[in-house]
Amino acid sequence: MDFKLTEEQLALKKEFDDFFREEMKNAPEVYQNEGPAEACYASDEGWEFHQYMKKKLAKKGWLTMAWPKEYGGREAPVIEQLIFNESHAYYRAPGIDGFGVGMFAPSLMLYANDEQKKRLLTPIARGEVQYCQGWSEPNAGSDLASLRTAAIKEGDHYIVNGQKTWTTGAHRADHMFLLARTDPSQKRSRGLSVFNIDMSLPGVEVRPIQYMNGAPIYNEVFFTDVKVPATELIGDENDGWKQTRDTMNFERSGAGSFAAIRRRLEELIEYVKTTKRDGKFLSEDPLVRQKLARLYTDMESGRALAYKIAWLQEKGNLIFSPAAASESKVFSSELGQRMADLAIDIMGPYGHVEHSKWSPLGGSMIDTYQSSIGYNICAGSNEIQRNIIAWVGVGLPRFK
């Protein structure tokens, strides 16, 4: 057993680090002060920089490094993806449409017809489009299979009616991959289908939801008699549930989250070393020291788990990974929240000041305090994740 990177991997890491360090010097301030979703989707300047980085990453071939070769990727080993994701997250770089590149494209490769693959994959690979995810509904959150948005076939079209919600970046997206009920007589996971939706179609209405920190990230999306050409159905009708569950061997260890926390911890260390209270630097306060150490310890133990997950993924071991990926999601999201809580505690009354001349570290920690709790809820709430860990990881029974 050894944790060392090879010469090639070290060179790759340096290439990624050098690139992101340089590029992020030109990033708008929001990438320093706000969370990754806020920075990308909220302001116009943040959004434009995201578009710029997409093209850059596409040109380097990094956007699709995990893709199969036949679709223009290079099937990068999971460990290389992990090195990239760590560097990308550490430098808080944008430029990856996770919905398009990471979620919908793999689904297209497995289920789309040749015409769809040609038409839809190329713009994703070139970083020319932005996708959003049409899954959650007001009454279908953790229980996704209970969704009700309907797509009823009429001639060579489907007529879509219903509502999606918590749709990240819908107000910026060109397309949505929509999960809708094509057979209303069937219940739950049966009778669902996947569509590629053009967000500019008549009858699609996007209403931003203001997140608690004021940023427009999430949206409600209403569908009123939206006429979707049947050519936008992906795979077989009523076979949509399976498509939502299939994923490719893309790195999902969560290593990037720990790298992002490492950057924030370094900034916090600099803050306590340069900030005085009651005549002493905060770094001399034993309580502050204990808290910082605990954060480091948690971060490093989480990172060790993430590396193990990536290693098992690389070896094709899918028995351990499903529970472990849930573990990493739970641990990293809650650690992000603990980090922000600890940081604003240390900052005293300044901890609660939003981005302004008074806010320490550009207000990044109070922003994270608000955004991080969202990560405990999105992408499978931490309660659902814990169920999965108990069922798959411990083998406890699942009551129907």
Partner: protein, 378 residues
């Protein structure tokens, strides 16, 4: 990168697991822990025959030149079975002290005896104040003629009640912290076992005019701090490994119990209250165990691992306590009894936290490094 164990290491783990399940099931542990000796000399001899007492020592001293990760595997299995023996005190603490700081003659003589199982040793370091700081030693070794004379009290000396020799940490005048070899049957010693919930053979050792000749200084006077720091950095990881093993068994035992125990006509493991406890327990174990292997590899790869050892111990301290406590909770009433297997772990999680330093002690070491270096190397 290769995060798998070698096939030899898998075999080492298997053979250790088989040995303990055959020779030292939990019922046997419960018998042994109530004895005055607190260990079984018969089982200890079998461990010697398996070669574990020589695992980490070079071949020239009769050892088998194993890797540090090999030791970690054995320690995990010891932790899983709650094997009560002088392995930690004799092989890890005193063995590493002699290996790091002893003279060539001392290494040949003492390590040879440890490997062949004829010598049990105890480290007399901590004192009545109960500080974990390595340099927090008041006991003085007064040089009188060509002999040192030791007076004072050492506390929490593990296995002093069964050892043949002690290594005593004391200050030798201007030389500072030094290590002295003392025979356990010296008439100036009074050894009394301290009742701890972990049944870990902790002893009080009172020294009254105990004389030590100069050749019974380990290495040279004044080397104590450096040698102890080196030993503790490794021993800290080894103790953490025992605790990680404990976490694993707590989860296995409790998972089985939760699948079998029925209430309201269903196994309690199907209820989310129990599932979420167990998810948190598994998370605590998986983060701890993977962190353990990473830090152990740093030792084998020759990296600077001192602060990481501290970070690991702090992590495992909190996680083992958490896991063992939830494990008893899920067992309900039966888990609180003396006969319950799970209680063996609950009674050890807290004492183990204090061995080689508690959480606050180790966090401070981590903080010192973080605040000195600023950036975190990756």
């Amino acid at each position: 990168m290769d995060l798998d164990f070698t096939s030899e290491q898998e075999m080492l783990r298997d053979s250790a697991a088989k040995f303990f399940s055959k020779e030292c099931p939990f019922d046997r542990v419960k018998e042994i822990e109530e004895t005055e000796e607190g260990y079984s000399s018969e089982l200890w001899q079998k461990v010697v025959e398996l070669g574990w007492t020589g695992l980490i020592f070079p071949e020239e001293y009769g050892g088998y030149d194993g890797t540090f990760l090999d030791l970690i595997i054995i320690q995990e299995e010891i932790g899983k079975s709650v094997f009560l023996s002088p392995f930690f005190s004799t092989v890890i603490q005193c063995g590493l002290i002699i290996l790091e700081g002893g003279t060539e003659d001392q290494k040949k003589d003492l390590l040879g005896q440890i490997v062949e199982g004829s010598l049990i040793m105890a480290l007399a370091h901590y004192e009545e104040e109960g500080s974990y700081h390595i340099a927090s030693v008041n006991m003085a070794a007064e040089l009188k003629g060509d002999q040192y004379v030791l007076n004072g009290t050492k506390m929490f000396v593990m296995d002093a009640n069964i050892c043949n020799k002690l290594i005593v940490v004391a200050k030798a005048g201007d030389d500072g912290l030094s290590l002295f070899l003392v025979d356990a049957d010296d008439p100036g010693l009074t050894i009394t076992k301290i009742p701890t919930i972990g049944r870990d053979n902790s002893c009080e050792v009172i020294f009254k005019d105990v004389k030590v000749s100069k050749e019974n200084v380990i290495g040279s006077p004044g080397n104590g701090l450096e040698v102890l720091e080196k030993m503790y950095a490794k021993a800290t990881i080894a103790k953490a490994a025992e605790m990680v093993g404990g976490c694993k068994v707590c989860i296995d035992i409790t998972g089985d119990y939760a699948k079998q125990r029925e209430q309201y006509g269903k196994p309690i493991g199907g209820y989310q209250a129990i599932q979420h406890y167990m998810a948190n327990m598994l998370l605590a174990y998986d983060t701890s165990s993977n962190y353990l292997y990473r830090v152990a590899c740093m030792v084998d790869e020759g990296e600077d691992f001192g602060a990481e050892a501290s970070s690991l111990k702090a992590c495992v301290n909190e996680n083992f306590k958490f896991v063992s406590e939830r494990a008893v909770q899920i067992h309900g009433g039966i888990g609180t009894t003396r006969e319950a297997d799970i209680a063996l772990f609950y009674r050890r999680a807290h004492p183990y936290k204090s061995m080689c330093g508690d959480t606050a002690y180790h966090y401070e070491k981590v903080a010192e490094k973080l605040l000195t270096e600023g950036s975190i190397s990756y």
